[in-house]
Symmetry: C2
Subunit: 117 residues, 2 copies
DNA sequence: CCGAATCCAGGCGGATACTG
DNA sequence: CAGTATCCGCCTGGATTCGG
């Protein structure tokens, strides 16, 4: 019990909630989708148009992933309209990310030194 | 038209602090390194042994990236020893991630959480 | 309007061997 | 001990086309 070596095992890698979460929403488009859905619900093409540069393919994949995580709900309206919205869990996460965004914005110039907007 | 369309442009994608942060530390090994360095400083091979499954190559790359972000400091001791530590900024981020981990663990049903110490 | 299917390039990350 | 260098598989993500 003298020198205690903490080992981050592969099990830990899979088990650590924050690691999983970061890998899930740390992809290219999830944050943009979450941000848009935070204000109001959107249709598919509406999201497609609003997120500059995204492909329909990746929008589909991103939405499916967020849906699987219970962060986004998908409700077909007419046969021509599908509505995507943040679930309560999604809104909850959004708040957390918002807090993280406060931190990031505050320490941004010092660390990543990219042009502040 | 009075319908206001919020567009997440490519510029926004680059500018959004939280998006950049998530993409930076949302990689495979950064969280593990941050967690280990949160408790105490480590040498290179010490980290290598402690993080199960990581290759020296990826450990180097991860450390360099964290160093570039100002989250980790690298201080050569002897010619045979280099010490890695979390910077104050790194500790600051670690606290934020810990809070996020609390949230993740609560909504995850996960077994292990980020043990804060 | 809302996707699915296919094809393809680039980057992330692993394995291995070598250096000071 | 603390890395580099090289090769390579795989997965992410973009472009395009097709279907309901």
């Amino acid at each position: 019990m003298s020198t205690e070596t903490v080992v981050v095992s592969a099990a830990d890698y899979d088990a650590c909630p924050v690691t999983r979460l970061l890998r899930r929403i740390g992809d290219k488009w999830s944050p943009a989708v979450i941000r848009l859905l935070a204000t109001r619900t959107h249709g598919f093409n509406e999201l497609d148009r609003s997120i500059e540069g995204i492909s329909r393919r990746m929008l589909t994949r991103t939405l499916r992933a967020l849906e699987d995580d219970g962060l986004v709900s998908r409700t077909p309206q007419a046969s021509t309209r599908v509505e995507y919205a943040l679930t309560p869990l999604g809104h909850s996460l959004r708040e957390q990310l918002s807090a993280l965004g406060q931190w990031a914005a505050a320490h941004d110039g010092a660390t990543l030194s990219v042009d502040p907007r």
